[in-house]
Subunit: 474 residues, 3 copies
């Protein structure tokens, strides 16, 4: 009975999709804007180039899922690896179906960015469900693809923070909600024609988040914070006096491998957000992205080296990721020297946030998702208001003599925190009271792989597992 | 002596290539169509964009080789990992050289798709050998590249099915044959101007296989079936009463990693098959590809979860791959809602085919290559005839009120089965009688790595291997 | 105190960067050529396509870093894996910051290739520091990105050769120097308007190295030779009579994985070096790259198989890489048949160089970086003079009836050897006398991971490590 409830809840996404096909899908055959693109390219000869650019960038963003998979898998113990990989693989599938069914419509309805997105207001959109009718258009579908991989990124950030104790069913239910509701509604405010992206202060128009330090990373990072807090720390993470223990992962080279892949994918994430290769600012965006990531890694590594004499690879990787997260909002608005500064600051911001999360809030964030994505993400939002130099889209920060943009960015930070913490708390609370968030103590101690997935991650290496079973390990 | 025969046989590809250089290569300096592309781009200003698109898509398809490598490596035991990786790495090298020497000419000769492909009929082509003479042209060479990575994909599908017992020499001989003969001749019928792609029934013109559910995946999957059947099951796979045992792989997270990479590469496979970014249908193709893969994963995972309460990662991955294989033929012809349906159906088709292969045919397909590539591939071919909505290239299926296309697709299914099973059977039989297909019983029990490759896969981790050698493992 | 010196030295890059921001960065706000690209694309409608092509190719080259990471990690023992991965990850960060601060200006100053690069002579450049002022231009920044990933590739080649005994601090200091000085100055001679690329002999103008067999690979490979020689062989590598022992790596499948990734990235490396997709020669370049790599793998594999009856995966991978390195210089100038020959010759050149390095020079090159990158790289430089067929950029070799180009290529080979050996020797000698090159004997025996990085690579798999510590292993 309990199993039935669990599975029912998590099947909601699937049922909704099925119903959607029945009710919304068939009309797609009747109404369509430009499903083969002949009219679109006749009207705009650059449409092919810009579509190719946007799609390829989207492919790279998709590939970041593998980076997250490696990163998290490296930082957990082998007994929970199947569980983590299943979450990592299924969350983008489920979140994307949620985004297909609802999210895209809530986020871009009313934006009129592409055909079939006419209906919506500054708070929420309500056109674009299931990519049907007028949405069956090459431009709208291109837009959906690029936005979907962003939504899937926000979803998967959480997996690492709640690893090693959250039930698979609970996690997949959350994945659907963030893709269908949490991410899109805030996203609408910023990118979908909503109030936050159009707010005027002085001459500055709209809070700016070019590629999603806020929309993707801070949302994901704060959802991770709430999730990790509500599910509670792993057994053994904190001592009775509240001091934390380091629980080492089982494959630390995977952390560097995952970071390489994420870094690679970020070249789709940021430069692709122009949605146009005819916008030559893409080279500046790519270089800013690179410099911030490289600087974040170097600063984090040497910070630790100066203190301990050890070159900490995992911290260097998180430093790179913090730099990349931080540059995501300002990447298009700043000069290369500013990217170096933003990356350099991101590293200590990440380190400080990690201290705050673990030592002050006593939250067990297994992979450092909160400091990397929320800590550096908030810094990135503020950096727009500081370093935007006025050379692109008329966005000017303190270095260009204007404080208005910084005020807008501060408002954005407050909004993203309030929205995400509130909705993530409601979501995880609701899941806790229905499905239950956490595996049993026995399952956690044994590892989630066998009870939830029916197999160990490395089953043929029996001698290792036998040895592990003696209790000397993990 | 036996070793000499073995190596001689497999060196055929190399000798042919060498001879080819001597006889065909030198004339390349004399005749050439447009080897630097100056005339081509003067005639068509979009040639640069479309070439960039096609090449980048081809790079992604090439990268799928790594996905197949991870996927198979994860599902085998560590004692056969060097053998599998060698097959996985060398098969694309050898198949591609076979495609360079012979395959491309047999497949596209007479198609007149690019310069130097004038000679051929509807059954077989005979111009384009070794990319010499008029083939030394930027467009022809671009076409060769994209088609070659497809041929290499078909070849590598087989590696997983015959893993852990087929000899390396036998497998590499087969790789050359599929790249040089089996794949190209059927491919000619469908894509090279041959009879199958031009057959008329009512108003429908030609069986349609946009990116190769049939040409690549069904051919590869059925060759895998024949190969796995002829080499026989692994020792211990079937009990004396015919019931199968589950032989677990040594690194199941690799299955998810491989699937992520394959999914990524599929964005080259399907959208790239337009060979043009000026054809804006590429966005619809990308989204259909994504939706079918995501839906396949979700359906397969929940199907198993509903029955056992376990979230089976390997099955979810195979579900994603089945969705991707199935959408490959219809990806350009259907609407997003239909992609969801095609992916949803692909999962049970894959599961049913797996049952058929293992329980009825008693064939030991180590990685599930047959259900994923042949089962879902055939479903994909049929899906064109059902869901094609008439918005692209005038291809109309049942949902658009026409049954003619479905009839053509059924003919195609029968043809691909007959051709592949027959030629693969002849090929593997010939290899069996000359080189021999199967490693000795002693080699199989010890693992193929040391006898065939001279080293274990993880040699420095001696304690693990020592423990394994005690017999408690694998 | 010693630690302070060590860390101080390696922090030079960071301090320089900080100073650079203070002195050079701020003016970027004042002077700029075309920071948002509006003028550039108005002047050249193809600028968007060519920028997209160049950036995407650069992303692929960046991704090669992951290939090097896997390759090296597979060939070392697990006790040094954190050390290797840290080097692999940080070297591109540090080398690229060195290239940002100094290298780009030394290399391209005076080339006038892009805005802000006016000052320089044929020996050295001196404009373009920190991407400031007139360099804040979309074209210049695009150029920087593509060149930077090449510099980072040269840097990381060394990591594998000196693995398992060079100190992390020493290695990172070297990384900064190669990115800031060694690579760029020779690069200026060849690609930055310097004397080597403009030297006239008969009708031939300039030594030619299309994508860097010399500039990137031979420089990296020879720096690796010098580094490996100066740091000395690993304990146990050579017996007292000078004969070498094979020290096996801990994860040989990683070698194939790394090779797949490098192969994939090479499609950015070579075809991207046109910096333009409107140059349709890109298809020929891609195919030549592929054919040389595939042929190198097949020849190396069968060479070993003919001698030992074993299919050696690691050698096949190095054969593929040798083919890829060799084709890098001539890729644009030769026909496909010549690419097959170049790849086929590259394999024995690599094997012969490996023999020379290990048996004659008695240098311990852990991953074979010297034979693959320097051996095959030199062969590639010479191959331009032999096989260039005159169809592209008027470069003609022996097959087109001219010997002048070959003379230029021989000069280039002598220059690159003299320059790299001399500067690398000075660099490593200076590091040896200040920081010290080599870890202590105790650290080397225990593995560098714990003493230098504070953790093992696979810490949660305690039973394996415990067993390893008994001394039966590694």
């Amino acid at each position: 009975m309990r199993r039935f409830i669990q599975s029912r809840w998590t099947r909601i996404g699937l049922m909704v999709a099925t119903l959607g096909v029945a009710f919304f899908g068939i009309p797609a055959l009747v109404h369509a804007a430009d499903p083969n693109g002949a009219d679109t390219i006749a009207a705009n000869p650059n449409a092919g180039l810009n579509m190719a650019w946007t799609l390829i960038a989207g492919f790279l963003v998709f590939f970041m899922q593998l980076g997250f998979a490696f990163l998290g898998a490296g930082l957990i113990r082998s007994k929970n690896t199947m569980n983590y990989m299943t979450k990592s693989f299924l969350d983008f599938c489920i979140a994307s179906l949620g985004f297909w069914a609802f999210g895209f419509a809530l986020m871009f309805g009313g934006s009129k960015l592409w055909p079939g997105l006419e209906d919506g207001n500054t708070v929420i959109g309500f056109s674009g469900f299931f990519l049907t009718g007028e949405n069956y258009d090459v431009s709208t579908i291109m837009g959906w693809f690029f936005q979907m991989v962003f939504a899937a990124t926000a979803a998967t950030i959480v997996a690492g923070a709640v690893a090693e104790r959250m039930k698979i069913t609970a996690y997949l239910a959350y994945s659907f909600i963030i893709g269908a509701l949490i991410y899109p509604i805030y996203g609408h405010w910023m990118w979908g024609g909503g109030w936050l992206g159009t707010l005027h202060i002085g001459g500055a128009i709209g809070a700016r988040d070019f590629a999603g330090s806020g929309v993707v990373h801070t949302v994901g990072g704060l959802a991770a914070l709430v999730g990790a807090w509500m599910v509670g720390p792993r057994i053994g993470k904190f001592n009775s006096d509240g001091t934390p223990n380091l629980i080492k992962g089982h494959n630390l080279p995977y952390v560097a491998i995952g970071t390489f892949i994420l870094f690679f994918g970020w070249f789709g994430f940021n430069p692709g957000s122009t949605l146009a290769a005819t916008d030559l600012r893409i080279s500046v965006i790519a270089v800013n992205t690179f410099l911030a990531g490289a600087t974040g890694a170097v600063v984090a590594m040497y910070w630790k080296f100066a203190r301990t004499g050890k070159a900490d690879l995992v911290l260097a990787c998180n430093g790179a990721l913090a730099g990349l997260v931080a540059i995501t909002a300002p990447c298009a608005f700043v000069a290369p020297w500013a990217a170096v500064v933003i990356g350099a600051v991101a590293a200590p911001v990440m380190i400080g946030t990690a201290y705050l999360v673990e030592r002050v809030l006593k939250v067990d964030d297994v992979v450092g998702a909160v400091p990397v994505h929320a800590g550096a993400g908030i810094w990135g939002l503020l950096a727009v208001g500081i370093f935007a130099d006025g050379t692109y889209l008329d966005v000017s920060g303190l270095v260009d003599g204007s404080a208005n943009q910084l005020v807008l960015q501060i408002i954005d930070v407050l909004v993203v925190i309030a929205w995400t913490v509130a909705t993530a708390a409601i979501t995880f609370y609701a899941i806790k009271k229905t499905i239950g968030l956490r595996a049993s103590k026995e399952e956690e101690l044994a590892g989630l792989d066998v009870p939830e997935h029916g197999t160990e991650a490395y089953p043929a290496d029996v001698p290792v597992r036998v040895a592990a079973a003696t209790g000397a390990a993990d």
